[in-house]
Amino acid sequence: MSLKQAMAGECGLQFFGKMTASISHEIRNVLAVLNENAGLMEDLLLMAEKGRPVDQERLKALARSMGQQIHRGDGIVENMNRFAHEVDQPVKQVDLNEAIGLLVALSGRLAGMRGVTIEPVCEEEVLMTTNPFFLENLLWCVVDFAMPLMGEARVLKIISERSETGVRIRVSGLENLEQAVRDRFPSKREQALLESLKAECAVDVTAGEIVISLPKKIDPVYSGDPTGE
């Protein structure tokens, strides 16, 4: 294993930890709402036992709200499951828009904490053969770097498109890129991920964009699977 691959692997563990911690926080929030709603329902029923008439509409609203929270929790767990399975195969066919959608769902709370909304812009189907975990990790690194550089709108767009040589992802809506890029982007961890994905990164200061160009297909040997299987 090369030093770059080892670095990409270490960066991957950090990424996995960050996303898992955020997911666990979201699940706890769902459980906290369910806990209070269940407690409130119990309080209302106890008061009914003591003679205060129970408001049936109130109980129905609480049951509805609990159902919505369960649905919310189910969505979070489904995303977590999809994320966990991204490492099953080092290289596979990936729907880029789905991969971006998953990253947006996983990192939405972290972005929200920083007052940023991430908006995927996917106008065409983009299929590619790549390492989905490294791809999502690279996207997170770019998003994490980009969030402090947002303009007033606080909307970070991730635009996916086909290019002459493969696939392009544009992370758009950034300001003051020149100084920030000169100081710290791409760092060694992003370089390791770019190399593992056979990707290139360019910065368009005027357009306020970071542009990642990826091949439509990579060989498994480039992406952490030395056997090529």
Partner: protein, 147 residues
Amino acid sequence: MKIRVLLVDDEEEFVQALAERLSMRDYDATTSLSGEDAVEKLRQYNFDVVILDVRMPGMDGTEVLREMKKIKPLTEVIMLTGHATVESAIDGMRQGAYDYLMKPCKTEELVEKINKAHEKKAEHEARIRDAKVKEIISSPQAALRED
């Protein structure tokens, strides 16, 4: 007089249900969905105890705690954390928070902590009143001084 509690959390359904449950237990509960709003409410009104989520968009719990302690140093704050780690809550306690609770929390535990926090605030206020009375007795001009 009812104990005045300010509940601060960006999960709207959570604070609303909790506020309703505390009202049923005879607390005067007010809700706030952001740190900025909570600080503003604390400037305008008096609360005995604040239940404060550590992690919120915008101004987070630790920042809110710092501001609150500047505005109303005697108001007791209980930190609410959704994280498995307690570092953020311990950090809050170093900065003057009374205690912390992990989400989701048991109502009895929360109520007990609110009551104890209120007792602490009431004792502190009583000591300040006593000190003022002693000062006035020893120097009657002290009564004319502004707080």
